[in-house]
Symmetry: C2
Subunit: 223 residues, 2 copies
DNA sequence: ATTCAATAGGTAAGTAAGTATCGATACGGA
DNA sequence: TCCGTATCGATACTTACTTACCTATTGAAT
């Protein structure tokens, strides 16, 4: 019962699907129509079995000796991820990162449509950033209701992220994509995704530190 | 032999350490000097055992009934992650996201010092963004040698990311933090970290789609 | 002083993810 | 037409991560 038609996909598999999608879209744009797990695995540095298992969750079926239809795979992944239907979102915190997100038109191809930004900075309110209005925070609840918005993006300083999250919950937002490095305290039903860049930085700097200071650490440990 | 003095920490644990660090720094700034795993776990929504296991990798030791010294913990995590010594980095692609990264002075508190940016856009070359010079790409190798830089950040469009990565390898860069949604093809020794925002988006939109279209999908599956 | 409760730290069990293996199937070439 | 091979899909196995449990230690209360 598990596997096909994905009753529940492991998070790691889920996070690999967009990578396959990028890769497959690229293939498609080059006119390739069939692809096998071996090929995908070779190019993306995964073993074929893992690719196959991941793809099985989308419900796609391949043909032995041939592989999968690239077009079908792309559609299957998009459908599975909900990238067909548009998710309208709002963004709070029109600073550096927020501006970058607002300017990233590519999101719209993956079901994410940021409809407006909110901020407290008077010099920003009333402006348009990449065509999106920057509104005062107290108009958020109204917009959420009117446009039936489910997703909120937080790109404010960490100190106010919890406050903003509270506002979002009150306004009726269902899911939060949080770029501030804090754990948000929200009701159980909320879907929260923390995008902690420092996690990645940690992993990187840890590995770098190991590489460049490994001999020293070895010595220390021997004492 | 494993555990203490972290011969090898699981990636998930490693990625949680910065969260603990944020939390503990916050505690510290409020004057709290002692903390237990139960408290951390309550606030960060982890079970105490997991917190304890994670913290053990940093080599810290706590006292029963008391917990850990917040100050010691902060230092232990920073040391473990290599956040004490500065990693000088360069950034390629001074666009939206690149600008946001350049403006994020907070990175410097976590061992990441971006010293310069590179771009191909003539209108950007020669400018300063948040005090950092934007240089032409062909000066990269020279800078890497002169300043002994190990880390490169890629915030260019996906199409040119591989080219940029090749340049970095040639220049002598050891680690890449890649924000473009492509798998980079680099020599074995390179440390590469892909920051694929679409992975997170996928996870989010998948869950949202499930919540708001779950009944329909159930029906479809029953046919 | 003694008991109790909270907590660290180690070990073991359980769960989830990743990997290997095997039979079945479809295409290409002999 | 038949055979070999690449590939899929399923199952079994292995590894890694998480969670539970137990013991020892500490501080506080009686
Ligand atoms: N810039 C980066 O590269 C980067 C990297 C990692 C993490 N982050 C995180 O992303 C977040 C934003 O970073 P940034 O560099 O864009 O910061 P920023 O200071 O440029 O922008 C923050 C914006 O939030 C607005 N704001 C402040 N209080 C608010 C409130 N109560 N309600 C609504 N808006 C409010 C500010 O007016 C400002 O426009 C931070 O939490 C930061 O830690 C940023
Ligand atoms: N902006 C976002 O919020 C966001 C979100 C997710 C992912 N990304 C990814 O981050 C990357 C950058 O996004 P962005 O929005 O900053 O794009 P952008 O177009 O604003 O910036 C790209 C920059 O790269 C420069 N560039 C182009 N070719 C180059 C080359 N060969 N060498 C050096 N520099 C070159 C351009 O001149 C430009 O300044 C993209 O791969 C994008 O997919 C961005």
């Amino acid at each position: 019962m598990k596997g096909i038609s994905g009753l529940s996909i492991p998070e790691p598999s889920l996070r690999r699907l967009p990578q396959y999608h990028h890769y497959l879209a690229e293939l498609q744009s080059r006119g390739v129509s069939l692809v096998s797990c071996s090929t995908i695995g070779r190019d993306l540095k995964y073993i074929p079995v893992q690719v196959r298992k991941d793809l099985q969750f989308t419900g796609i079926i391949g043909k032995p000796k041939v592989g999968y239809s690239v077009a079908e795979l792309v559609l299957a992944i998009e459908a599975f991820l909900g990238w067909n239907s548009v998710n309208e979102a709002l963004l709070v915190g029109a600073g550096n990162l927020g501006t970058a997100m607002l300017g990233h038109e590519r999101f719209s191809r993956f079901g994410l449509q940021v409809v407006a930004a909110f901020d407290v900075d008077p010099s920003k309110i009333g402006q348009y950033i990449y065509g999106k209005a920057v509104l005062p925070l107290d108009e958020m609840a109204d917009l959420v209701q009117r446009m039936n918005i489910h997703l909120g993006i937080i790109t404010t300083p960490a100190e106010v992220a919890q406050t903003v999250a509270d506002e979002m919950v009150k306004a009726g937002i269902q899911a939060i994509w949080n770029f501030a490095p804090v754990k948000l305290n929200v009701p159980e039903y909320m879907i929260v995704h923390n995008e902690d860049l420092y996690s990645s930085l940690a992993s990187l700097s840890c590995k770098l530190a190991k590489r460049f200071r490994a001999p020293l650490q070895e010595n220390l440990r021997l004492n």
